[in-house]
């Protein structure tokens, strides 16, 4: 077990290093000179050269890559070209929006999906089951950013109940912060909920069909108790796993949804950094997201190892 773990961790680190090299290469081969962007349409060639030197853009690529990597390992993510502040601080600031948004979306999607999935499973092949199935199909098919647009049209433009976007900042009060994240979180949660409903439903069905549950029910365990005591806890495991696996899609959705709702989150930071060629910020943000995905997948794998001992021998 320990050796498997160590091997996994080693391969995780190798993956991260290769990813970092990839990101660095792509970002530094992009057309567009960050110095030229900062200086605008009137800059003279000498000014440009002076700024490039100042920004360290004249160093060889390999030196810049190693310096970046060494910094990252020591927790120094470098300085943003445009903002002139440490990138680590920027990421933390933006994470204060993206993380609560993602968490709210996960909570919402689980809150919708698990009761729906369980109820559908209990009425297997009944009307409710079909309705839940339809919900699941539809919610998977709608793009999160479109749901966002529809919510804005309905609740902001037409009814005027909710802010159309923007984020007041957490010091404006917890409630107004949460209110600003509510519609984006719903938009983000809906497609997830569709996937999770399916997972929860099939997991409950499977558990309900297993021998120990049948035996318990034959001995007089009520339907409701069977669901609560056996089916639900077992159904949660695949749901949690699925959340881990769907994480990439959640992030993808967040980038678009932050854009629709004008939220100062990490996704928008990435978009902004890309357009301003704030290379360092872009490198750090993409690396951060990738590390998150890699670690998430690792944790899912780990969970499987713990749950299913048979996997400990294979691969």
């Amino acid at each position: 077990m320990i050796s498997i773990l160590l091997r996994r961790i080693a391969s995780l680190i190798v993956t991260l290093i290769v990813v970092s090299l990839l990101i660095f290469t792509v970002m530094n081969l992009l057309p567009g000179d960050p110095a030229a962007i900062m200086l605008g349409t009137s800059a003279t060639p000498e000014t440009l050269a002076a700024l490039r030197t100042q920004m360290g853009l004249n160093e060889p690529l390999i030196v810049r890559y190693l310096a970046w990597l060494a910094g990252v390992v020591q927790g120094d993510l470098g300085q943003s070209y445009t903002y002139g502040v440490p990138v680590a601080g920027l990421i933390v600031e933006r994470l204060a929006v993206t993380l609560p948004l993602a968490l709210m979306a996960i909570v919402l999607s689980v809150g919708i999906a698990v009761p729906l999935g369980v109820a559908a499973a209990r009425r297997h092949n009944g009307l409710f089951d079909h309705l839940a199935g339809a919900f699941s199909y539809i919610s998977i098919a709608v793009p999160a950013f479109w749901v966002g647009l529809l919510l804005i049209i309905a609740f902001s433009t037409k009814l005027g109940w909710m802010p159309a976007g923007g984020f007041p900042g957490w010091n404006a009060g917890l409630l107004s912060g949460l209110a600003a994240l509510l519609m984006p979180a719903v938009a983000l949660a809906l497609p997830q909920a569709g996937v999770l409903t399916r997972v929860a439903r099939s997991a409950v069905l499977e558990v309900m069909g297993e021998d120990f549950v049948r035996t318990a029910r034959a001995k007089g365990l009520s339907d409701r108790a069977a669901v609560w005591r056996h089916a639900l806890p077992n159904a949660l495991i695949p749901v949690v796993t699925m959340i881990g696996l769907q994480f990439t899609f959640l992030i993808a959705g967040a980038v678009l949804v932050e854009n629709v709702f004008n939220l100062p989150g990490l996704g928008r930071l990435a978009l902004q950094a890309l357009s301003q060629r704030d290379i360092i910020v872009m490198q750090d943000v993409v690396l951060f997201f990738s590390a998150l995905v890699i670690v998430m997948n690792f944790l899912v794998d780990l969970a499987y190892l713990v749950i299913d001992p048979r996997l400990r021998v294979a691969t």
Binding site: S11, V14, T15, L16, V18, V19, L22, I23, V26, M27, L29, L30, P31, G32, Y137, I138, I140, A141, V142, P143, F145, W146, L149, L150, I152, I153, T157, R198, V199, S202, A203, P238, T248, I251, A252, V255, L256, N259, V260, A270, L271, L274, M282, V285, V286, F289, S290, V293, I294, N297
Partner: protein, 274 residues
């Protein structure tokens, strides 16, 4: 074939998908008016009025025609991307299953690496690299499809390689390439077909997202994603501009997903949805 009618999911999926493909193909030969034809005087006219069946946009262009051509653009881009991804990915998967050893290790790591970067971010970087356009969208989606198909075919092919009749074929001295062609590919083709259908839905969603961010096909070619992006400042005056293209995307993805699930139930009864 009679089985189709007892499978409502497959039925609905097939009908919706065929209808959209029909509209897309029709748009190549006929649209109510030229989708790029502007008529500023008739701008932002609501559906079912002066603006034709589905209204006009901010330039007075006919939304019906734009949606029709958008269907072609969206479907063809996604189809090409998935075709490339499926071909390359399946080829890699089958070859690796044949060779195994260090090649498998490298390919699996490669898949991990591609999966590690969220597709929207890699697409953004690719977009900045190649410039926005149809080609960029196809490549950005295909890149993410390759590991999906590589993993799928590798796992499936490995199972077939372990079957008795394959062991027997190795025993009588058949070459690995021949076994792959005769035994492996035919046996995993159903799984690949099902996966292609499901990934097509995902590709349409991704293409719409890229177009929404301005990384899709350039104007005047109408795309559903850009129509949505353009609609954002006209919510108050013209909500249909934001509603209709989204409906089109949802319908296309819904159709393909149902078709995929239906095909899976029919072709691959062992694998359960989920």
């Amino acid at each position: 074939m009679a089985g189709i009618f007892r499978r409502p999911v497959l039925m609905i999926g097939l009908v919706v998908t065929l209808a959209l493909v029909g509209v897309a193909l029709l748009s190549l030969v006929w649209t109510p008016s030229l989708p790029s034809k502007m008529n500023i005087v008739q701008r932002l006219k609501p559906p079912l009025g002066l603006g034709g069946l589905l209204g006009t946009d901010q330039f007075g262009r006919d939304v019906t025609s734009m949606l029709m051509v958008g269907a072609w653009n969206s479907l063809s881009t996604s189809f090409l991307a998935v075709a490339i991804g499926a071909t390359v990915g399946s080829a890699v998967g089958v070859i690796v299953a044949m060779r195994r050893g260090w090649l498998e290790l490298i390919v699996m790591r490669g898949c991990d690496i591609i999966f590690a970067v969220p597709p929207i971010l890699s697409a953004m970087m690719l977009g900045a690299f190649l410039g926005s356009g149809r080609f960029t969208a196809i490549i950005a989606i295909a890149v993410f499809m390759v590991p999906v198909f590589a993993r799928l075919t590798l796992a499936a092919a490995k199972q077939i390689w372990a079957r008795d009749y394959v062991t027997a074929a190795i025993g009588i001295g058949r070459s690995k390439a021949k076994i792959t062609l005769v035994h492996i590919l035919p046996n995993i083709s159903n799984q690949i077909i099902v996966q292609v259908t499901i990934q097509l839905g995902l590709a349409i969603l991704t293409e719409a997202g890229l177009s929404f961010l301005g990384l899709g096909m350039p104007p005047p070619a109408p795309t559903w994603g850009r129509m949505l992006a353009d609609s954002q400042t006209f919510f108050g005056q013209a909500p249909w501009l934001a509603i209709l293209p989204g409906l089109a995307i949802a319908l296309a993805v819904l159709g393909l997903n149902m078709l995929g699930d239906g095909l899976r139930d029919m072709l691959d009864p062992k694998a359960k949805a989920g």
